[in-house]
């Protein structure tokens, strides 16, 4: 049997590889598909397959290219790749050597992101006026993130390092996938019931799709309505999400969020020490000032020579006393003079000069009165006739027979015998 017409496996593979490599359509291929069987090797190379509904192609991305991509490829991710297709001789399989890879559908995501951002901005969800102040010294921090992974680890270790007396409460949430957004929103709402000072909401780095829950409206509104101040910490420094815009403060990373959220214990202790010093100095200053003031009062002229106050008053008293004395003496003097003057009065010296003429007049008046006394007339022989104690002047005054006749030295009761009118 002539064996010359039989080719070796290596030879035919080499031939096929030659055919692939010289085909210009295979030199630069633009390919889209879904990642499967993804493996990132320790060398940094990516090994995976790209597939669609009907077919599948193996792919390799060497570390020099792999390290340039800004997302973490994962199972099922839709990607756009550029590379060349060739044969790997050792396995005899053809594969695509990927040079560039980006996520498919990013254009749509970007549009959705921009639209929601604009809508919420218009509604006022990002307004600075609505931002709450982040407490400087929180005693209880809430964290909404995945219970595993770098983010929670970084946050907790940073808080422990800086401010170990702070309590931390984790509200574990799904941070990627379909249900993540509603779960995150739910946990943000829940945190309101645990007397939390500051809430950190976030996750570690990932592809834009991984971070997508933080671009969902439901999460944005939960952050907006949160009564607890929210610090967002999504992905890396370069990643901006809707959550970052609506939160009260954006941190570049989860570690950054923890650094912003709590003070450094050492700084705080120093600050309190300084306050203590200031407090003591200020009160000492006050006390010293008052002491000096008191001293100045003690040294004042009046306090040092209290007799001055007394002497002033004494002098005034003396003056008043003198005045009173003068007044009294003057009064006495005047009275004495008046008395002397009266003593020299002629009438007072010769009072008989007043009553001697008066006595003569009195004697004359008495003599006149004697003449007028009706009893004097009776002495001369006249009588008075009364009836019922009324004097009878006329004959017609006599009403009955009994009458009374008064004489100089007695009374006669008599009876009328006869009346004869003249």
């Amino acid at each position: 049997m002539n064996q010359d017409k039989y080719l070796t496996v290596s030879a035919v593979t080499k031939y096929l590889k030659f055919k692939f490599d010289t085909d210009e359509h295979l030199r630069t291929v633009f390919l889209k598909g879904e990642i499967s069987n993804f493996k990132a090797h320790t060398t940094g190379h990516f090994y995976f397959s790209l597939k669609d509904e009907g077919s599948k192609i193996n792919a390799i991305m060497f570390s020099t290219n792999a390290k340039k991509i800004n997302f973490s490829p994962s199972e099922g991710m839709k990607v756009l790749v550029v590379g060349r297709i060739s044969v790997y001789e050792a396995t005899g399989g053809y594969q695509i050597y990927v040079e560039k890879m980006e996520q498919d559908g990013l254009g749509n995501l970007y549009i959705a992101f921009e639209k929601l951002k604009q809508d919420l901005a218009k509604e006022g969800l990002f307004d600075a006026a609505h931002k709450k102040t982040i407490p400087k010294i929180p005693m209880r921090i809430g964290i909404v993130t995945a219970p595993t992974g770098a983010a929670i680890k970084d946050i907790l270790s940073t808080i422990k390092r800086r401010f170990p007396i702070c309590e931390t409460i984790l509200f574990p949430a799904l941070v990627q996938g379909e249900n993540a957004a509603s779960d995150i929103a739910n946990k943000i709402d829940m945190a309101a019931n645990y007397e939390i000072d500051t809430l950190i909401v976030g996750r570690g780095g990932g592809s834009i799709e991984d971070l997508w829950p933080f671009n969902e409206e439901i999460v944005a509104r939960a952050i907006y309505h949160s009564k607890v101040p929210v610090i967002s910490a999504v992905g890396h420094e370069i990643d901006y999400t809707i959550s970052d815009f609506v939160s009260d403060l954006r941190a570049p990373t989860p570690t950054g969020a923890a650094e912003i959220a709590v003070p450094n214990m050492i700084d705080l202790v120093k600050h309190i020490e300084q306050l203590k010093i200031r407090l003591k100095e200020s009160i000492l200053k006050k006390v010293n000032y008052n002491k000096l003031y008191l001293d100045s009062l003690k040294n004042s002229y009046v306090i040092k020579t209290p007799m001055i106050m007394y002497e002033n008053k004494k002098q005034k008293l003396d003056l008043i006393e003198t005045k009173i004395n003068t007044l009294i003496i003057h009064k006495l003097e005047t009275s004495k003079q008046l008395f002397e003057h009266l003593k020299k009065n002629h009438i007072l010296k010769n009072p008989q000069e007043i009553f001697e003429p008066k006595a003569i007049i009195l004697k004359q008046i008495i003599e006149k009165l004697e003449l007028l006394n009706p009893l004097g007339i009776l002495k001369r022989g006249y009588t008075l006739t009364y009836q019922n104690n009324h004097i009878i002047k006329s004959i017609s005054d006599i009403k009955e027979d009994s009458i009374e006749i008064r004489l100089y030295d007695g009374t006669v009761k008599a009876k009328v015998v006869e009346k004869e009118k003249k």
Partner: protein, 74 residues
């Protein structure tokens, strides 16, 4: 407890306010001493809080809302 304890941050703020008043104020000696006494009380409370460092245990909220200790998986 009838009254909720004043927050640490509020204590520091009140302390700063009192010190500013003492430094710049014209309050009389008696008032100043009252303020000083109050401030010293706050300082001691803050000191005590900071010095009683018992490291806080991390907590986690379970699905049913209960709080329990949380240890990070290494």
């Amino acid at each position: 407890m009838a009254e909720k304890e004043q927050k640490f941050e509020d204590k520091i703020k009140e302390l700063e306010t009192i010190i500013n008043e003492l430094e710049n104020g014209t309050s009389d000696l008696e008032d100043s001493i009252n303020k000083y006494t109050k401030a010293m009380k706050l300082v001691n409370e803050c000191d005590e809080k900071l010095k009683s460092i018992e490291e806080q245990v991390n907590k986690i909220i379970l699905e049913n809302g209960e709080i329990t200790d949380f240890e990070i998986e290494e």
